[in-house]
């Protein structure tokens, strides 16, 4: 059953992500990305990392995707994006090469059977409980730092995106637009 689920998810995720990177349409790409992420959270659940799966759903599929969606609206991307590709074969050669080496590497039996768990899950606790115990003890300081980082990022996002909000680009005439084409 788990085997089946894994393969199913694996195939779907791969397919969806391929769509994400190959599609010319932003909307398709974003949608398939979101779908792929949902399926990844599925894998997390299979792995028993329930809390992580939930976070994945909330943060990624929820928050991040929403931000992307808002951002997309700023750019006029309803039509297909046009991209110039000089050497498509090179890209796939590189990607394929890395994929191949990684696969070869991981296909070999993983070494390090003698690895000792630093923070084993607390016996009898559910996954969220166990995570909480480790996160708020051993990783308290990184956790706090991460929270500060998120705060900084939030403020930064607002400031950056919100600058000169009073000027509306779409309401301007073509000729008084800031120097766009010349600088490009």
């Amino acid at each position: 059953m788990i085997t089946f689920a894994f393969y199913l998810f694996a195939v779907l995720i791969t397919g969806l992500f391929l769509v994400t990177v190959m599609s010319k349409n932003v909307l398709y790409a974003m949608t398939s990305l979101a779908a792929g992420m949902v399926l990844i959270s599925g894998l997390f659940f299979i792995l028993g990392a329930d809390f992580l799966g939930v976070v994945q759903l909330i943060v990624y599929v929820g928050a991040v995707m929403a931000v992307y969606a808002f951002a997309m609206m700023f750019f006029d991307l309803s039509r297909d994006v046009e991209e110039r590709h000089d050497k498509p074969w090179l890209i796939f050669l590189l990607g394929g090469g890395i994929a191949l080496t990684l696969v070869v590497m991981f296909a070999a039996p993983i070494m390090g059977e003698a690895v000792h768990a630093l923070y084993p899950p607390v016996a009898g606790a559910t996954n969220p409980q166990a995570v909480g115990l480790v996160l708020f003890t051993k990783y308290l300081l990184p956790f706090e730092v991460a929270s500060v980082m998120l705060l900084v990022a939030m403020i930064a996002g607002i400031i950056l995106a919100g600058k000169k909000m009073e000027i509306s680009l779409s309401a301007m005439d073509e000729d008084i637009l800031p120097d766009t084409k010349e600088n490009a």
């Binding site: 890209i91 590189l94 890395i98 080496t101 070869v104 070999a108």
Partner: protein, 630 residues
């Protein structure tokens, strides 16, 4: 006695420093007086030491440690034995006379004070040279006299360089540098000798070294002997390092008298005498020294035959007499060499100082062809120079007769008849050139008159100051026996064989005969005045002699100029074009590779990402490869 040693040694230094205080002031008579007085004190102390050594034996003092590193330990130690005492007395005596003389001679020179400072510094260095009890101490003096000689030859440094045709010495500063550098070449030889002694014997003290000589490997002794002699050759201007001495005549005349006749140039002879245990053990080197000395004797005398420069003639004669001394020392007659050294110091200094008087009278004109008939104006100088020349020629009963005659006897005694013959012939040449010079200067027609010179005798006190030298030039030879007894307490005695004893009268007669012959020949040719013979003067041998066998020019062509040219090549072609260009080449390769790889920097992020992933691929592949290796 220690105090006398220090007084003798440091009085000249004190004088020098005192004079140095006034070096930039205008002439202050006090410097001359003080330095002369201190020199006299040094002389008195030396005489006291001589007397002490005569009665009670050698004095040894150690002032302090100088260099001490590893196993090497070199003190400032002074040893006053018979040889040293004689040298000290001779040096301080001649120096005192020269100092007093210089008060008159340098009267009008604006650097009067500086001159006395240098001159006394020279005496100090010379005292260190003769008094040291080890080879490195000797080397201090050795280099010290070299520097003082450099300073004093170049005393009139402001004169400009001229061509060799105008002045064969080019300029005082040129001559000074030549002297210093040539001496340095020899000093390197000496330094190598010192190193050899140190690493083979482990000490540089004379006492230790000479005690170790008998037990040493003969080949090593020969090597040491050769290298030390190279040092001696430079200081005593032996062929082929002789050219500097004649050029050194650019210095003031008192300097020529003191340094380049009486004292410094005899340092080489002193070294050989001092190292007599070494040289006695290596007869082949000693024989070479004798032969070289003999060669220099005739070689220098031949150049003196035709020269027209008053001082250069005396310089060549000095060179020739140094050859005699080396011949004596090389033949093993060390005390004879020392005896001739002392006698020569007196009469040669006298000769030079007399020449100085003439120069003064003639406004620094040195060409004897422009003089003549000076005896009227300069009676006393004529007497002094005549006496000194007689002594130099070796006429009985003057000093030169005894000393030179003994050298010839020694040559005969050793059955080295070739050496004897050459030295004998040279005695004739010596007599001829000495009197050629005396007659051309003082006798005959007054050729200076049309040139507008007004010669006059020098100050009285200067003449009085010369009298000790004149007296010694006459009587010193009479003390041959006591002198021999005294110095052979330390030096090996030199016994004449029966055979020589038999022939001694004949030898004396023969030697005196050729000397007289030389004088008579000079009298015939020059007493009545100068008769120039164009044909002779144009002849090849004459020109060769006049140009010092073309050796200075040869040196310039073979050493100086190629050295300068090679230096230029090294700098401009090798250093800049090869060595530095290689460095800059490497730098420009790096720069150009950077310049060409600049194209990668397209500014397009996409290209960078491609490159980055290429790099990532390589890294991952490397990891994989490394994993497969294990």
């Amino acid at each position: 006695m220690e105090n006398y040693v220090y007084i003798a040694l440091f009085a000249p230094l004190a004088g020098s420093l005192f004079a140095a205080l006034f070096s930039q002031r205008p002439k202050a008579l006090v410097t001359g007086v003080v330095t002369s007085t201190l020199l006299f004190i040094s002389f008195v102390a030396s005489v006291i030491l001589l007397n002490h050594v005569h009665h009670e034996g050698a004095v040894h003092v150690t002032l302090m440690d100088w260099i001490s590193a590893g196993d090497m330990s070199i003190p400032f130690g002074f040893n006053i034995d018979q040889v040293t005492a004689v040298m000290m007395t001779v040096v301080t005596l001649v120096s005192t006379v020269v100092h007093v003389y210089s008060n008159g001679y340098m009267d009008h020179d604006k650097s009067f004070n500086r001159f006395f400072s240098y001159l006394s510094a020279f005496v100090f260095s010379m005292m260190v040279l003769v008094m040291s009890d080890n080879f490195l101490g000797l080397f201090i003096g050795w280099e010290g006299v070299g520097v003082c000689s450099w300073l004093l030859i170049g005393f009139w440094y402001h004169k400009a360089d001229v061509t060799r045709d105008v002045n064969p010495s080019i300029s005082p500063s040129w001559a000074a540098n030549e002297a210093f550098i040539m001496n340095r070449i020899a000093d390197l030889g000496m330094l190598v000798g010192i190193f050899l002694i140190y690493w083979n014997i482990g000490s540089l003290q004379y006492a230790d070294v000479f005690a170790a000589v008998p037990s040493m490997n003969h080949g090593m002794l020969v090597t040491i002997g050769i290298f030390l002699f190279i040092g001696a050759m430079g200081k005593s201007a032996q062929f082929p390092l002789h050219t500097w001495l004649a050029d050194a005549m650019e210095g003031p005349t008192p300097v020529s008298a003191l340094i380049h006749a009486a004292t410094m140039v005899t340092a080489g002879v002193y070294l050989v005498i001092r190292a007599n245990p070494l040289y006695s053990a290596i007869p082949e080197v000693s024989y070479f020294i004798a032969v070289l000395g003999t060669f220099v004797a005739i070689f220098a005398a031949s150049m003196a035959l035709v020269n027209r420069d008053l001082k250069r003639i005396i310089a060549y004669s000095t060179l020739s007499q140094l050859g005699y001394m080396f011949a004596a020392a090389g033949l093993g007659a060390y005390w004879v060499a020392l005896f001739h050294l002392a006698a020569h110091a007196f009469f040669k200094a006298l000769l030079f100082l007399g020449a100085g008087n003439v120069m003064h009278a003639m406004d620094d004109e040195l060409d004897i062809f422009k003089m003549g008939g000076l005896k009227k104006a300069m009676r006393w100088t004529y007497l002094y120079m005549g006496l000194a020349s007689l002594a130099l020629a070796g006429i009985w009963p003057l000093a030169g007769f005894f000393s030179k005659d003994t050298i010839l006897e020694a040559a005969f005694n050793e059955h080295t008849y070739g050496i004897w013959l050459v030295l004998w012939f040279t005695a004739g040449l010596t007599a001829f050139y000495s009197f050629r010079q005396v007659f051309l200067t003082f006798a005959g027609d007054e050729r200076y008159k049309p040139l507008g010179f007004h010669p006059h005798e020098v100050q009285k006190y200067v003449l009085w100051a010369l009298s000790p030298l004149a007296i010694l030039a006459v009587i010193f030879g009479w003390f041959k026996e006591p002198f021999m007894e005294f110095v052979t307490q330390f030096l090996p005695a030199y016994e004449m064989s029966e055979h020589t004893e038999h022939n001694v009268v004949i030898l004396t007669v023969v030697t005196t005969a050729i000397a007289l012959g030389g004088i008579i020949f000079a009298w015939m040719r020059y007493y009545k005045g100068l008769k120039r013979d164009e044909k002779v003067e144009q002849s090849l041998p004459y020109r060769i002699l006049l140009n010092q066998y073309y050796i200075p020019i040869l040196y310039e062509r073979v050493f100086s100029k190629p050295y300068a040219a090679l230096s230029k090549v090294f700098w401009e072609d090798v250093d800049q074009q090869v060595v530095d260009a290689t460095v800059d080449g490497i730098a420009s390769v790096i720069q150009e590779s950077g310049d060409s790889s600049r194209k990668i920097q397209t500014g397009n992020l996409s290209d960078y990402l491609k490159l980055m992933s290429g790099g990532a691929l390589v890294l991952v592949a490397l990891v994989l490869f490394a994993a497969m290796q294990n």
